[in-house]
Each structure stands twice: as structure tokens, then as C-alpha cells.
């Protein structure tokens, strides 16, 4: 008898279970519980949990809100090649970041240790918000405005890369976040 032939006993569910199998099933089951526990546990004690606060929006509306944000808080032009406005919102404030074919707009300046409510949406296709080198990766979906609060813990220049394939210019899509002390 093998795995290619019918079970020896017609009533195979009455067969005894081998000891090793029992030990392993117990370990694996408990491990599953540990892993199940870790996720809600991290919601309680951990500092990295993506909020699911989301609103329906439209490209026009989201662009208007971002424009208003830029108009209100722009402090200078970025010294990078694109000369995008550098926008410095007050700590605790809202930040609007547009993802579109093929860039992120505008450049944002944050203060280390302060929290900011980021509003993320796309004006066209799906994009990825990949903040490097902090290694934070979030999906951006058109017509959905996702609100996530970030608290930077190190100062420096950060890049936002697109890591959802978005057509032939995908690899040109890059943005910038500056964190100051």
C-alpha cells in the first residue's frame, strides 16, 4: 500500500495518528496562535500600524486640496533639479501628497519627532509609496484618499519611490521628504 493506492482500512479516519505527527501538529498549532496574537498585540504596544482611515475622493478634488496645502505652507523652492515647492506644514498638521504619472508632488519638510497626517492618493493609476531608507511601503489607489500618520524618528533626506508598476515611466517616479531636527 502506498499514497498511490486506496487506504488499507476503508474507515481510515479511525487509524491512530503517529506520535511525531501529534507532536508536530501541537507545535504548529501553538505557533499559529502566537502569530495570530502578534498582530493585535502590535496594534496595542507597537508604533507601526497603518491606519485604515480612508475617504472616497476624485482626482480633481484631491489636486485642489493639495494645491491649497502647497499655497498655504510653501517655504521655498527645492534646490533639486525639479525645483518643486518645499512645503513645511505645522507639526501635527495635514500633509497632502499627490502621486501621478510620473512623480510625487510636492516636496515636504517635516520635523523629527513630530506627527503628521499624510493624505495619499493618485490622480491616475495605482502607485506605490515607498519611503527610503525608512522602508515604509504603502499602496496608493486612485479615488481613495488614505490618511496615515507618520512620526519620523531620524533626520535627513528621504526619497519616495514608486514601487507599483505604473507604465513606461514607472522608474522615473520619485519624490522627496526632508526631515529636520
Amino acid at each position: 500500500m502506498t499514497s498511490l493506492s486506496p487506504p488499507k482500512d476503508k474507515i481510515w479516519w479511525n487509524e491512530p495518528i503517529e506520535r511525531t505527527e501529534l507532536i508536530w501538529i501541537t507545535i504548529v498549532f501553538l505557533w499559529g496562535l502566537v502569530m495570530t496574537f502578534m498582530m493585535p498585540f502590535w496594534h496595542v504596544v507597537g508604533d507601526q500600524n497603518i491606519s485604515s482611515e480612508t475617504y472616497k475622493t476624485t482626482p480633481e478634488k484631491f489636486m485642489q486640496q493639495t494645491q491649497a496645502f502647497v499655497d498655504e505652507y510653501t517655504v521655498r523652492k527645492d534646490d533639486g533639479p525639479r525645483q518643486y515647492p518645499v512645503v513645511k506644514p505645522p507639526p501635527g498638521g495635514d500633509v497632502y501628497l499627490v502621486a501621478r504619472l510620473w512623480d510625487f508632488w510636492p516636496v515636504v519638510e517635516l520635523k523629527k519627532g513630530e506627527s503628521y497626517r499624510f493624505h495619499l492618493s493618485s490622480l491616475d493609476w495605482q502607485h506605490g509609496f515607498s519611503l527610503q531608507p525608512a522602508n515604509i511601503n504603502i499602496q496608493i489607489i486612485p479615488k481613495y484618499e488614505h490618511v496615515v500618520t507618520f512620526t519620523p524618528n531620524k533626520s535627513g533626506d528621504y526619497s519616495v519611490l514608486c514601487n507599483e508598476y505604473c507604465g513606461i515611466g514607472h522608474h522615473m517616479m520619485i519624490g522627496k521628504i526632508i526631515v529636520v531636527e
Binding site: 502506498t2 499514497s3 495518528i17 504548529v28 498549532f29 502578534m38 497603518i50 522602508n135 496608493i140 514601487n163
Partner: protein
């Protein structure tokens, strides 16, 4: 009307003519698409090696789209059709129900696959296999996938029909064999998968034709992954059925206990279809409760099932070896396994690669918060080259070596190369998997043509130097893996064309199926722990898993606060 059959002189299996021809057709189609997809894979891998950077951007995205579709969809599903016909008609010794339907299914799949390759090559569908709306492809792209899926659905119906025929004509007694049970699991999940696919692809087709104004991008992702995720579950169920089959073929092994192995298959049906949420862990609009519920309840119970198979397959081999008297020490049974037989070595490397690399990485990044660290980085392709390539593809390759003489009646050519092939391919793929995962933890994005950002007019991000090194090592591994993949295709196609034809009653020089140990042999093993070696391997696996899992939580704790 009684259909023609023959009895295989090497294995004693009863082979119906129509089953054999269908298995041949599907297996050959599978290997051809693997070859096409492998060539694309080589081009993609070399382009991602920064120092080589082979293809221009548009060709890179085209090739990556073609790669994903040809290997993930066409190679695997054609081969799975062959597995289904084998697990029903051949193992049960029954005629195939309505072979005409099976042929119609095959034709649809072939038309779909060819049409898809045509439209992708034309450059009008470089949208990746996921084709995330609202990015749009040429309508033929969606149509081709629908045709392919309908064809596969027909194949599943023929499989179920054959089970009914076998039962009615009493070609076997009692319950179906475990391998068939595994194939039933795969086929049930396949039906669910194809229906989800239809629910998402048909409206998308209509939308691309202009009949529908809009496809909601989030809804698309949710349903697409109900399809995309459960199709991975088909692969897992099918390759685990193949593991059990090979353990029986090479060692005459029997399941350690029928109940445990069958329950583990059954868990896949119960739980895994809902786990598509683990593809949406960093999406907006999906609540944490939904994400956690689906990953823990739906995924961990299915993960448990895979971990159980991961023990019971080598355990069944250990039992068989010990029953035959290879009983010394912890690992004598493994040391004395036929490592030069590609059917065995391919299967065992598949088991190790799937568990240690694919399993551990997949479950770890499937934790809701840890996903933040790696979502859409090359860590993800690193992970699934361990599951679907080291795991499924290598298992299917191993099975193919065995099928060539049995079904095609050809002696294998280049046996020496064949005995090396699983190591070559396995090593290369393990490299691809590990180095991509490494680069992913440094943030390197997936599906990305240029991580030096040379086209952005000066706005750049400089990855740590290690990222370039890892991608170069990946490039070298790609070369190894492609050599291994090409060797496989050459050996198989070469054997079918030029291998010595075996006469109808001719037996192979070496026995092609092991004689199972007797009940009395098994009784000598006693009632305690009969597989100490496997238990030790499992505990090593568990330790690696737990360490890796918690290291990732530690990494997570080091980044910005997110809430």
C-alpha cells in the same frame, strides 16, 4: 464501447490511450511555455543586474509581463492538467470521462496562451500579469486569459467526471488514494479560482471595450487576488500531491497516517481562498480587523496544513526506509536516498526550498504590520521564486523525468546531465530567491527598470552599495537557474524526439517503481516516534522560522512611527 488501454510493463499502471495522449499534449505544451517564459526570465534578470542592464525600458516591462504569464500561468496550469488526468485516470485505472471535453479544454487553453503571447509581444499589453485597473491593456489580453481559464475549467470537469466513472465502474475499492485526494483538493480550489477570475476579468474586458465606464481599483485588487491567491493554492496542493506520489514511487512510501494528510489537504479548501487579504495589507480602505482575521484564521490554518505536509512527506520516506532496514542513526535513511535520481533529488530540493525559503518568508511578510517593510519590493518576487519555482516548478520537473518513460515510452537521454539538473536549477533559484529577498529588505522596488534613476533629470535615490552587489549576485544566480531550466527543457524535448523508443512490453534497465515495504516490515517500527530524523529536521525548521519571524518585528520597530 471499450476503450483501448495498455498495462505499463514497468509500473503495472493501466494506461488508457486517450489519457496518455492528453497527458502528453498538456505536458509538452507546459514545457514549451516554460521555455518561452524562462527566456523572458533571463532577459529580465540580466536587466535587473545594474552592471548589465540588458533591455531598454519598454522591452523590460514587456518581458516581465511575458515572463509572469508564461511561467506562472501557462507552464503551471498546462502541467497541472496533466497531473489531474494522471491522478484520476491513471492512478485509479479508469477510462477518462468525455475525452472530447478534455481536448476542447486543451484547445481553448492553447488558443488563449498563444493569443496572450501575441498581444503581449505586440507591446499593447505591458501591464504585468496583475493588470491592475485603471491601467488598461488591449482587450485581447483579457479575452485570452478568459479563454485559457474556461479551457482549464473544462479540464477540471473532466477530472471530476473521471472520478465518477471510476467509482461507478469500480476500478478501485474504498477511498481514493491520497495523491488523488490531493488532486481533488487542487481541482476544487481551481473551480473557485476560475470563478473569481471570471468575476473580475469579464467586467474588465467589457471596460476595456468601452461598455463599462469604470472599474473600481480597490475592488479590482480584492477580487483579482481572490483569484491570484487561490491559484497559488492550486499550485501548492498539486505539488504536494506530487511529493506524495514521488515518495511512493521512489521509496514505496505510504502516508504516515491517512487522516492527518487528508485533513491537511482539506484545510486548504476550507481556509485558503480567503487569504487574498494578505495581498492588501497596506491598502487603503481595508480595515485592520479584516486583514488580521483573514491572515490569521484563513492563512495560518492553511499554513499549518503545509507545515504538516512538510513533516509527513519526508516522514513517510523515513518510515519506508527504516522499514526496509535502513535504520541506523538519525539520518542514514536520508543519506542513502537516491540523490542521483532527479525524480528524488528534485522532489526533495523542492520540499526544502518551499519550506525554508518560501514558507518562512511568506508567512513572515504576511503578518499585517511586517508587510509594511517589504510590500512591492523585490523581496516579494524573492519569496515566490522559492514557492512557485523551487517548490512547484522543481516538483513538476522531478515528476516529468519519471513520466517520460512511463507515458511517452522513451528512454531519457543525457542521464548524467539529468542527475545534475535539479541541483543546478535548485541552487540557481535558491540564489535568485535569497538575493532578491536581500535586495528587497534594502528597499529595492519590484518591477523596476532603473534603480539608478538615470531618467529623472537628477532627482535620485542612492541605494546602499549592498543593493547593487545583491542584484549582481542575483544576476549570476539567474544564469545558473537558466542553465538548469534550459537543461531540463533540452533533456525532455530531446528525449521525446530522439530518446530510444521503448517496446510495448520492454522493461527499463532499472526498476521504475519501488516495491512497498510489507505490513510486517512497518510493524517492526513500533508505536512510538518512528521518524526521529524528520522530527529533528522539523524542529530545525521551526527554530529558523521563529528566529526570522521575530527579527522582522525588531526591524519594524526601528522605523518611523506609523499610525
Amino acid at each position: 464501447m471499450s476503450e483501448q488501454f495498455r498495462i505499463c510493463p514497468d509500473t503495472g499502471l493501466k494506461l488508457y490511450q486517450s489519457t496518455e495522449t492528453l497527458i502528453k499534449a498538456n505536458a509538452v505544451a507546459a514545457v514549451v511555455f516554460l521555455l518561452v517564459g524562462g527566456i523572458y526570465g533571463l532577459l529580465v534578470g540580466l536587466t535587473r543586474w545594474p552592471a548589465v542592464h540588458l533591455l531598454p525600458a519598454d522591452w523590460f516591462y514587456l518581458a516581465l509581463t511575458g515572463h509572469g504569464l508564461n511561467v506562472l500561468i501557462f507552464w503551471l496550469i498546462f502541467f497541472e492538467m496533466a497531473v489531474l488526468y494522471f491522478a484520476s485516470s491513471v492512478i485509479l485505472g479508469s477510462r477518462l470521462a468525455v475525452p472530447k471535453f478534455a481536448w476542447a479544454g486543451f484547445a481553448l487553453m492553447l488558443i488563449g496562451a498563444l493569443m496572450n503571447n501575441y498581444i503581449v509581444l505586440s507591446g499593447e499589453a505591458s501591464v504585468m500579469m496583475t493588470s491592475y485597473a485603471p491601467m488598461d491593456a488591449h482587450p485581447l489580453f483579457y479575452l485570452s486569459l478568459i479563454l485559457f481559464a474556461v479551457g482549464a475549467l473544462l479540464g477540471c470537469f473532466v477530472f471530476f467526471g473521471t472520478l465518477v466513472v471510476a467509482k461507478e465502474e469500480k476500478t478501485y475499492e474504498g477511498s481514493v488514494p491520497l495523491v488523488t485526494f490531493g488532486a481533488i483538493t487542487a481541482a476544487i480550489i481551481a473551480v473557485f479560482t476560475i470563478i473569481s477570475g471570471a468575476i473580475i476579468l469579464i467586467p474588465t474586458l467589457l471596460w476595456s471595450l468601452g461598455f463599462l465606464a469604470e472599474i473600481d481599483a480597490l475592488m479590482y485588487r480584492l477580487i483579482w487576488w481572490a483569484f491570484g491567491h487561490s491559484s497559488q493554492q492550486i499550485n501548492v496542493a498539486a505539488h504536494i500531491a506530487v511529493w506524495y506520489a514521488i515518495a511512493s514511487i521512489v521509496f514505496g512510501a505510504k502516508p504516515m497516517s491517512e487522516k492527518v494528510s487528508r485533513m491537511a489537504f482539506f484545510m486548504y479548501i476550507l481556509f485558503l481562498q480567503l487569504a487574498s487579504a494578505h495581498h492588501l495589507l497596506v491598502d487603503p480602505g481595508v480595515s485592520s480587523e479584516f486583514k488580521m482575521f483573514n491572515t490569521s484564521y484563513a492563512m495560518y490554518l492553511a499554513v499549518m496544513a503545509s507545515m504538516v505536509h512538510g513533516l509527513t512527506v519526508p516522514g513517510s520516506i523515513e518510515q519506508a526506509q527504516r522499514a526496509k532496514g535502513i535504520n541506523a542513526g538519525l539520518f542514514e535513511w536520508l543519506r542513502r536516498a537516491p540523490w542521483g535520481n532527479p525524480t528524488f533529488s528534485g522532489m526533495f530540493l523542492s520540499l526544502i526550498g518551499f519550506g525554508f525559503l518560501g514558507g518562512i518568508s511568506g508567512v513572515t511578510m504576511g503578518a499585517e504590520q511586517i508587510n509594511i517593510l517589504v510590500h512591492n519590493t523585490v523581496y516579494v518576487p524573492g519569496h515566490f521564486h522559492a514557492t512557485v519555482v523551487l517548490g512547484t516548478t522543481l516538483a513538476f520537473m522531478a515528476m516529468t523525468y519519471w513520466l517520460v518513460p512511463v507515458i511517452f515510452r522513451r528512454d531519457l537521454i543525457w542521464k548524467g546531465l539529468a542527475s545534475w539538473q535539479p541541483y543546478l536549477f535548485g541552487l540557481g533559484m535558491a540564489g535568485v530567491s535569497l538575493f532578491l529577498m536581500g535586495a528587497g529588505t534594502l528597499g529595492v522596488p519590484r518591477r523596476h527598470w532603473d534603480i539608478t534613476f538615470s531618467m529623472t533629470g537628477g532627482e535620485v535615490y542612492e541605494f546602499p552599495a549592498a543593493a547593487n552587489t545583491l542584484l549582481a549576485l542575483n544576476g549570476l544566480s539567474v544564469a545558473l537557474a537558466v542553465a538548469g531550466g534550459a537543461a531540463f527543457c533540452l533533456i525532455i524535448v530531446g528525449s521525446l524526439l530522439f530518446g530510444r523508443k521503448l517496446g510495448p512490453d520492454e522493461k527499463l534497465a532499472t526498476p521504475h517503481i519501488a516495491t512497498p515495504p510489507s505490513d510486517a516490515d512497518y510493524e517492526k517500527l513500533g508505536n512510538g516516534i518512528t521518524v526521529p530524523g524528520t522530527l529533528v529536521l522539523a524542529l530545525v525548521f521551526f527554530a529558523a522560522f521563529a528566529v526570522y519571524y521575530f527579527i522582522n518585528w525588531k526591524y519594524l520597530a526601528e522605523t518611523w512611527g506609523i499610525s
